[in-house]
Symmetry: C2
């Protein structure tokens, strides 16, 4: 069965999409069958893989709202050896539509159940909020959540609210919701605050912080404008090597070597 | 009457809170009576001004949901010469509660109407989403919206969706919703992509982009951990000078000299 990991943090701009895209790319390079699900109406994961989000006619929205089998909406990229369930503009209206639906929190989990046999990893990228789309992402996270944490003060502040939400979702909807790990992102060794934030997160979540720390690297910010992951855009950059190491750490932790 | 400006961008981490805090601080230094409204459940604006968000017992939530006169919930900081309508933990539930209310989109505008006479500027910080809290912020924006745009590719991508939302809100709820201006943030002159993003935004929104460009400056990221705006934390830093210049540009544009 697939490892289903959801990238979540309601703080904006902390590297959720960047981590989803590049972790997916390096897992795929290690011959894993990987599906990336773009659950953010901004559709950043979709466009970071070179798709024109305004031309996407169907995707995760249909799987959530129509209950349609998502097989038909998955896009395959032979070049990247990745599959993508894209976000379309309609997703912006999904949160309001979900409010009145039965079992509204588990629509995504139910939709993905039909796909899990085809993949080794399913990574779900969430929007920066704790609304129904993100809740769907949490309920679908059979393997647990991966929490990108930017090495800055305001990102640290939001972790309390996030863990509170995780325990509420676990109590009400998904009893064995795990925390697969926290990934420190945009680390700049010249900034003392960054080192303090890393130490603080490690002390709050002992044993849960991935050893791999993602450095701030301009190549990572450039890659989306070229529509490819860092593994193709700048494979020798510090950002690429960090995500490759992170993928190894995930595989080892999952005993897939 | 007060100039009511709302800081909005559904892309996360682009500098909405940083711009709201520091623009407010420099407008106050120029003897303007300023109120900052924290409409984000993350309460980053509240904590960046040194308040413990878990100890806030009432604030913008009460004004939105109870219709209570917000006078009683405004906190004053004589040191900063600023007033703050803080976010409390209850705000996280406000979006769902607003859904069923009459005139749900104009609760904030109605609440602030009672306060406008006491201030020259009211700045509203929004969460990174286009839900009912942000819509309330847009409907309340009598002076218009200020859009922070991070000088990176993914932030550029989201502007189309934002302008679409602005025109829908304008058509349905707030006919003369203006775009007061776009502020380019976290500009790093060493990065060619940053310069391209600035040029792209200036060509898409001619005459609407503030001339002041906010540089990436680590002092700006450190200030929130000290609970003060940049004007007190590091007044001689490049970030401080940029926000001071932005405040001048806003005052000149508003013919307040
Ligand atoms: N390690 C890094 N070094 C430099 N830039 C980075 C890094 N990681 C991400 N970025 C850039 O920072 C910005 C924010 O990252 P990203 O969009 O992945 O965050 P996010 O959490 O998905 O944002 P949102 O909350 O809007 O969904 C993007 O412009 C991205 O290209
Ligand atoms: N010009 C700048 N230079 C360096 N760091 C900055 C700058 N502006 C903001 N930051 C830092 O970048 C991060 C994101 O900024 P901020 O929190 O203000 O964005 P936001 O748009 O309010 O985020 P959210 O979408 O989560 O509300 C914060 O850690 C902040 O301290
Ligand atoms: Mg994202
Ligand atoms: Mg903010």
């Amino acid at each position: 069965m697939a490892h289903v990991y959801t990238l979540v943090n309601q703080k904006g701009g902390v590297g959720k999409t960047t981590t989803a895209i590049n972790l997916a790319a390096y897992l795929a390079q290690r011959e894993q069958r990987v599906l990336l699900v773009d659950l953010d109406p901004q559709a950043n994961a979709t466009s970071s893989l070179g798709m024109d989000k305004t031309k996407v006619t169907s995707g995760v929205y249909e799987a959530l709202i129509d209950g349609a089998s998502p097989h038909a909406h998955v896009l395959h990229s032979p070049q990247l050896k990745l599959a993508l369930l894209p976000a379309s503009p309609a997703l912006a209206g999904a949160e309001v539509e979900l409010v009145g639906m039965l079992a509204r929190e588990s629509q995504l989990r139910n939709a993905l159940a039909a796909l899990e046999g085809n993949y080794d990893y399913i990574l779900i990228d969430c929007p920066p909020s704790l609304g129904l789309l993100t809740i769907n992402g949490l309920v679908a996270a059979r393997g647990g959540v991966i929490i990108p944490v930017q090495c800055e003060y305001l990102a640290l502040e939001g972790l309390g609210q996030l863990t509170h939400t995780l325990s509420r979702v676990s109590a009400a909807l998904h009893p064995d919701l795990q925390m697969r790990g926290l990934v420190m992102t945009m680390f700049d060794s010249r900034i003392s605050l960054a080192q303090q934030v890393v130490a603080e997160v490690q002390s709050h979540f002992p044993g849960k912080v991935f050893q791999t720390i993602i450095p701030r690297s301009v190549r990572l910010a450039e890659a989306p404008s070229h529509g490819v992951p860092i593994s193709l855009y700048a494979p020798n950059s510090a950002g690429a090597q960090a995500y490759q190491t992170l993928a190894e750490e995930v595989l080892q932790g999952d005993r897939v070597v």
